[in-house]
């Protein structure tokens, strides 16, 4: 029961490299250890291999070299990872509840427990009233909420999010950031969050992993040790601005070829 101790490693990537068939080196000697219950962000410019790293963690893509090590209980079967894509990626022919039910269906969970899990997941993201709506009837932010509800439906200990709010307007993004943090504090899932926004990464995470552009490598890690709950007051605080300044400066160093 090592993983029950807060701070125990849930997954670690060691010396992971990924070269695509066309010769592009997306990742090189990438090291990352994620601890139980942690909110960690991967920050870097577009095309730095953040998404590739996330897909390797999810098992959607195999590393060309290096290893991905799971803690014993980290990946018991398939239901322990929730994945949120850049786009809502909902099935337009299913209503919201049926979309959220999909992961349960695929693992042959059905009946009343599945029904309850779906209702609970929808309630958690504030979409309880929209269970019967079709995706096309929802706004961009609501579609993203539905997508998050789907990722939560199987109650995975690990939630992977690939720039989920990048396509949303700022007002909606702030709202979803707040709701995501509230959800994280309540559920205590481990979250790996990919973003290219300095502000978003500082606002959300306990730890920011800054990556270099192609090939993607870890440039450095920055701890954001501001206390939770974080809210609008934090977003406008000097402390927040200070962290953003540090992270921005680090990111531009990483962009300039990794000279520290």
């Amino acid at each position: 029961m090592q993983s029950a101790i807060p701070g125990a490693s849930i997954v670690s990537l060691r010396g992971v490299g990924k070269t695509f068939d066309n010769g592009t080196v997306a990742l090189e000697r990438f090291n990352l250890t994620v601890r139980e219950g942690e909110f960690v962000s991967l920050l870097g410019p577009s095309g730095c291999g953040k998404s590739t790293a996330l897909r390797i963690v999810a098992g959607l893509s195999g590393p060309s070299e290096g290893t991905v090590d799971w803690a014993d209980t980290g990946r018991a079967g398939n239901k322990s990872i929730g994945f949120v894509f850049q786009e809502p990626t909902l099935m337009p022919w299913r209503d919201v509840a049926a979309n959220v039910r999909l992961p349960l269906e695929l693992s042959h969970a059905a009946g009343a427990p599945a029904q309850t899990a779906v209702a609970q997941a929808l309630e958690q993201v504030g979409l309880g009233e929209f269970a019967r709506s079709y995706p096309r009837e929802l706004s961009g932010g609501m579609k993203m909420r539905a997508s998050i509800a789907r990722a939560l439906a199987t109650e995975p200990p690990l939630l992977l999010m690939d720039e989920p709010f990048a396509a949303l307007d700022e007002i909606t993004r702030f709202k979803l950031n707040n709701d995501l943090l509230a959800l994280w504090q309540r559920l205590r899932r481990t979250v790996i969050f990919v973003t290219h926004s300095v502000f978003e990464s500082v606002y959300l995470s306990q730890r920011i992993v800054v990556m270099t552009p192609r090939p993607g490598r870890v440039f450095t890690e920055i701890a954001v040790d501001a206390p939770y709950p974080r809210d609008e007051a934090f977003r406008t605080s000097a402390e927040f601005a200070g962290f953003c300044r540090t992270v921005s400066a680090t990111l531009s160093q990483a962009m300039m070829g990794g000279v520290r």
Binding site: A58, N78, K79, I81, M91, W93, L102, Y134, T154
Partner: protein, 261 residues
């Protein structure tokens, strides 16, 4: 919006009225004989007078059309699924599906009539013409599934069957229905072509045969009446399939949603 709708119904009717009147006037003014060009009124009276004969022929042709259509739909979708599931099958058979499609059916029909009993040959023609659009559209649909949704299914270790049944087929439904809509009209074309190529008389003769036969007998009004029935049948098939498509997609697909502009 309402005005627009009215125009969409009124304008084609207006065009029809003008053309029919012009046709009628031309026949009268130039005193054209009925065995060259009958007056519209004569076509209608012929349609009524020969109704039992024509109705029977219509049923024969429609029967073949529907059989051909259902076989084409089932065969086209089944083949598309097989192509999608096993690359080897696709590589082996796709070229022949294309060859079957690009060879004019009118040229294949006489051969089929030698090897197959006539009703079966006619059915085969209807099938050959109709199945390719179903196959091509269904293949396109099955291959255009959202990559992220495929990743999601993979993440949850979905079986091949689950991916096909819960993701690929529903996602391909709009394209499959588009293929069926084309196939409906084409199976009528296939049936007509084969009937004309067959050309032999018999109790089970369809509308196309009636047209050919009336042509030999210079019974031009009956040719027109049969032709009218054929196009009415084609229009009915198209509308039935469009309605089916609309019913299936109205909740979710862009093509079935009301447009604002």
């Amino acid at each position: 919006m309402k005005k627009n709708r009215l125009m969409r119904i009124a304008l084609p009717l207006l065009v029809l009225a003008i053309v029919v009147t012009a046709w009628d006037r031309t026949v009268c003014v130039f005193d054209i004989q009925p065995f060259v060009l009958p007056r519209p009124e004569l076509v209608l009276t012929t349609l009524i007078a020969d109704r039992s004969l024509l109705w029977h022929s219509l049923l024969v042709t429609l029967g073949i059309t529907f059989e051909g259509f259902f076989l084409a739909a089932a065969g086209g979708i089944a083949l598309a699924v097989a192509f999608n599931q096993w690359r080897v099958v696709e590589y082996s058979f796709y070229p022949y599906a294309v060859i079957l499609q690009v060879t004019p059916v009118l040229a294949i029909a006489p051969l089929l009539l030698i090897y197959l009993p006539q009703p079966l040959a006619v059915l085969a023609c209807a099938w050959i013409v109709a199945f390719f659009p179903v196959l091509a559209n269904a293949t396109l649909g099955l291959n255009s599934v959202d990559r992220n949704l495929l990743a999601l299914f993979a993440l949850h270790k979905a079986s091949r069957w689950q991916v096909l049944w819960k993701l690929k087929l529903p996602s391909a439904l709009p394209q499959i229905l588009a293929g069926l809509r084309i196939a409906g009209g084409l199976s009528l074309v296939g049936a007509v072509v084969a009937e004309i190529a067959a050309g032999s008389a018999g109790a089970g003769s369809g509308l196309a045969y009636r047209i050919a036969e009336s042509g030999y007998r210079l019974n031009i009004p009956r040719m027109f009446a049969a032709l009218l029935l054929l196009s009415a049948a084609g229009v009915a098939i198209f509308f039935a399939l469009s309605a089916l498509s609309h019913l299936a997609l109205r909740r979710w697909h862009e093509s079935a949603l009301p447009r604002d502009y």
